[in-house]
């Protein structure tokens, strides 16, 4: 294998990992706000919740398209394998995102009879989140393959473990959503978000702990990696830093004035969880089935895409930051273009 064919898949795996992480965080707090909709019944407060994300959701969601498109472009075999192996949760996620996405615009036009689109927004977010967790769980527990193609059954993904991953992600996105609200709102709504954030944080920590034990228990390959000496010592900072991030998050939630801290800490928690996943699964792209090299597209394809990506990605990040900067500060009642 020449150097290019060795290095390019690694670079692409890193780019995709960054893209998926950005998606999880950016659309994660958006979906989290949808989950919160279930618990906030006051219409004016719901309007504000929606307006904290309205200028950004579309750009945030595009990282999901980059995830899918990037996987197809850089790792076509993995793309085909994952999409057909996890057909049902992926289709369910897409349909849920249809409801969630159109609700952003339909709700305002439908007023004062917008209840259906409120439901579409919140249930769409809940179902999409759950499906994403199930997809992650399904990937972790492995897909049955033959010659690199999916060779399992329609419902192989349906296990207690994958369902639990779905619930865990709901807790995680709810934490991102509540802490985002603390950051972007004030007064009554912020107080409410602080209370909700505590529950979400405790739920997420419990879920993280359970998944961290359950995964090595059910996948021997992962247990070997974590618990073999001296690996555990080397990896120990990951759980320790997670505990620190959790403490900072709680601290920020309790102390008024530290409005950005809970969100930053929640993002850190997600990043650390992601590092844990990486440790468990390197060098697999589809855990247990395809390594990054086995799944890679032709080097010339990866190189062609890389040129554009290295040029475009900084520009994209630049104007994304610019838009967040433009709409910085607290969101108050009555704002929006509608």
């Amino acid at each position: 294998m020449d150097t290019l064919a060795y290095v390019l898949p690694l670079i692409w795996a890193a780019i995709l990992a960054a893209g998926v992480t950005l998606y999880v965080i950016l659309d994660g707090f958006g979906l989290g706000l949808g989950i919160l909709f279930h618990f906030e019944r006051r219409e004016d407060q719901r309007d504000i919740i929606m307006n904290t994300i309205a200028p950004f959701w579309d750009g945030n969601q595009t990282w999901l398209v980059l995830g899918g498109g990037g996987l197809l472009a850089a790792f076509p075999k993995a793309y085909g394998l994952v999409m057909s192996g996890l057909y049902i949760p992926i289709i369910v996620m897409l349909l849920a995102l249809v409801f969630r996405g159109v609700a952003f615009e339909f709700r305002w036009v439908a007023k004062p009879r917008q209840e259906f689109w409120d439901l579409a927004f919140s249930w769409g977010a809940l179902v999409a989140t759950f499906s994403q967790g199930v997809v992650l769980g399904g990937l972790l527990q492995g897909l049955s393959t033959q010659d690199g193609r999916f060779a399992g059954g329609t419902f192989d993904w349906l296990t207690p473990f994958s369902l639990f991953c779905g619930l865990s992600l709901i807790a995680g996105y709810a934490l991102l959503g509540t802490t985002w609200l603390i950051y972007k709102t004030d007064g009554d709504l912020q107080d409410w978000a602080r209370d909700a954030a505590k529950i979400a944080l405790l739920a997420m920590l419990a879920a993280m702990a359970i998944v961290s034990l359950w995964t090595p228990y059910s996948v021997p390959r992962i247990a070997e990696r974590w618990f073999a000496w001296p690996n555990f010592l080397i990896f120990a900072p990951v759980p320790l830093l997670s505990l620190y991030a959790a403490w900072r998050c709680w601290h920020g939630i309790e102390n008024i004035g530290k409005d950005a801290e809970p969100f930053v800490a929640a993002v850190a928690l997600f990043l650390l969880g992601f590092v844990g996943l990486l440790i468990s699964n390197v060098p697999y792209l589809v855990p247990g089935a395809l390594t990054v090299w086995e799944a890679a597209a032709a080097p010339s394809s990866q190189l062609f895409m890389l040129v554009g990506t290295l040029f475009m990605l900084p520009i994209i990040l630049g104007y994304t930051v610019f838009v967040y900067w433009t709409f910085r500060g607290k969101v108050r009642a009555g704002e929006g273009y509608h």
Partner: protein, 469 residues
Amino acid sequence: MDVDAIMLARIQFAFTVTFHIIFPSFSIGLAAFIATLLVRWRITGEDHFHRLARFWTKIFAVSFAMGVVSGIVLSYQFGTNWAKFSEVAGNIVGPLLGYEVLTAFFLEATFLGIMLFGWQRVSPNLHVLSAILVAAGTSFSAFWILSANSWMQTPTGFEMKDGVAYPVSWLEIIFNPSFPYRFAHMFTAAYLTTSVVVLSVGARYLVQGRFLEEAKTMIRMGLGMVAILAPLQLLIGDAHGLNTAEHQPVKVAAMEAHWDGNKPGELLLFAWPDAQAETNHFEIGIPHLASLIITHRYDGLFKGLKDFKAEERPPLLPVFFAFRAMVGIGLLLIAIGFVGAFLWWRRKLFETTWYLQPLTYAWPLGFIAIASGWWVTETGRQPYLVNGILKTIDAASPVSFGAVLTSLILFVLIYTSVFSMGILYINRLIEKGPQGKAISPEGDPDPSAGAHPLVAVQSATRSALGGKE
């Protein structure tokens, strides 16, 4: 996946792609229209351009949301339902779609935030620039999608190794032989579609006697575009047809239901092609005209369906009839543009009810033509998914019949209900019409409106929320 599941996957793809194409083709033209309105407002300072831009931006937002969600579905469907297509063609199609995401999706999705919510937040120039960037994003998107699709129609610049396509020349892949024609044809169709909608809405207001200044602007701008673009589209379509005759002769034979390549083709106005009997029933046609159109010679010969094996021919009926629907609408639009231009020249445009009244129902014409055009080009490529390389039947994912059937039912139910609601809401916005106060070119709210900025926004918000003015 067995044969029946493949049939369902094909129906699912055809269904989701037909629904999807409506929204981006509208967005491409509408984004450019809104940007034009804002630029004209910056130059002239006339309020009604600004009111119109705000009005159409609301409609754009609703349409764009539907385009985004239906587009995400498509970007995943290549894997869920067509996994072997991603394996065989992923090296080529993947990067093209990847470039679409990088150069187009992020641009339009990000600046949409400023376009929708930036009216008071950013300077007018930056706001206009955002609208231009959104329009540019939609155009770049069309560029890459059409490139990928054209490559599937006329693949070049690659080599096959072990059943997988590998890129050899990216320039040849991107600018494959049918790409320039397809891109020009689709791009013009998108602008034409939006222009018809704008013209139709303008006519509706004028007939109702509402928003007269805005209505006249919309009619002038919409009609001007139709009058120029509809005849231009005829020329582009003709060039595209010549290109198809050269590279995909069996598709042209199916479009014309032309069986015998040894005889000059007659242009069939109506016929019922019979694939089993290899002939047409109830033919009404004009002798030699098809030869004249396709070869530009009176006695020109072009290949007939019998020159190809039966299993290499596309399904005839959808190709034949969808092509006639597309061309028929194209000719109707030329007539609308010609008559309108004549009335405009005689200064009777805004008084001629017999012309304006029917136009109020004309808004779907472009959408129908575009959907028909896609059916012609996509069905006409069958039985291949990538022409000459990969048959559709060999491209499917290993997914069970039940799973595809369930997802198909869900797609049909959800798409028809959600998107018909969306179209209903767009109609509600149009019924309400341009509202609210304009902003003066300096970026401050119009002093004549006499309102504090925040009050102006709030009153605009309230009215948009369904309150009384």
